[in-house]
Subunit: 149 residues, 2 copies
Amino acid sequence: MLKISKLTDYSTVVMAYLAQFPEKMHNAKDITAQTHIALPTVSKILKALTKSGLLLSHRGAHGGYSLANAAIKITIADIITAMEGKPGLTECSHNNTLCALQPTCAIAGNWQTISSIVYKTLEKISLQDMVLLKGSHLQHHFNGEEHIK
Amino acid sequence: MLKISKLTDYSTVVMAYLAQFPEKMHNAKDITAQTHIALPTVSKILKALTKSGLLLSHRGAHGGYSLANAAIKITIADIITAMEGKPGLTECSHNNTLCALQPTCAIAGNWQTISSIVYKTLEKISLQDMVLLKGSHLQHHFNGEEHIK
DNA sequence: TATAATTAGTACTATAGAGGTCCTATTTTA
DNA sequence: TAAAATAGGACCTCTATAGTACTAATTATA
Ligand code: FES
Ligand code: FES
């Protein structure tokens, strides 16, 4: 399905929360309380985001997580890629494809192109956009056509 | 994952094939032979596309399927929607959502907006684009910025 | 140094959905 | 009437997701 996974969705919620207080460190318990996502799930997300370099972690007492970069530098595409791996709208968008049709498929190249178009769109939406703007404002933002060209 | 399903991918292959001979009728066996997709799978796809109104079917001897509209009128978004149902990048993009976080979720509105942006992008790619243009040409097509604004 | 707090890493289970196959009924042409 | 083709649905298998749990490693601080 053309959907991001629930974990990816949750991870944007977590990231958006962290972006509200960029300097502060938040532990998993805090984030659970604020986002209402179950603790083990939050924990799993935080580990994945850290491993991908989007978050910095600090162990031990008073440890926690914080954004590795400014919210304006982090894009939705970054978060999706961190949680779901290499982008690509179809199996066939990847080089190491397993699709049996590829030798005869007339449209494989087109899907690679479409994937990259979609990802470029997602790269133009930053975490900051998510935090600062409510839905309607984000809509207006894009209708202004500053981001998508 | 932010991927279309394999069946959806295959359905674009089938549609692209049918679009090459818009007036002709093709039966499932023909399409299997040309696309190398297994017959039962082709059959399943054709039924789904017919039910959604993208194809016309004709039963009986010398029956088959044909495009319901001109290739230029059919978009990638149409095909995805036909195969996968209502668009929306997250569970939470739908009204009848089941997400427990919604009451407190700070970003639900944003995802609805992002979904609609992505779908608007996909609505700008027609079946005809898939048929007429090879990958690199499609890329060039979009770099020309005629479609995405 | 001892203790408590906190992340890192890994492994597990259960569920839903995707992918694929097959069978039977219905319709149409010849 | 016979043959050709779609319509519809039942069915199974496999994979990926979501969620949980446990242990090890690390750090601050009393
Ligand atoms: S469907 Fe896999 S390469 Fe085209
Ligand atoms: S994560 Fe479901 S509503 Fe925001």
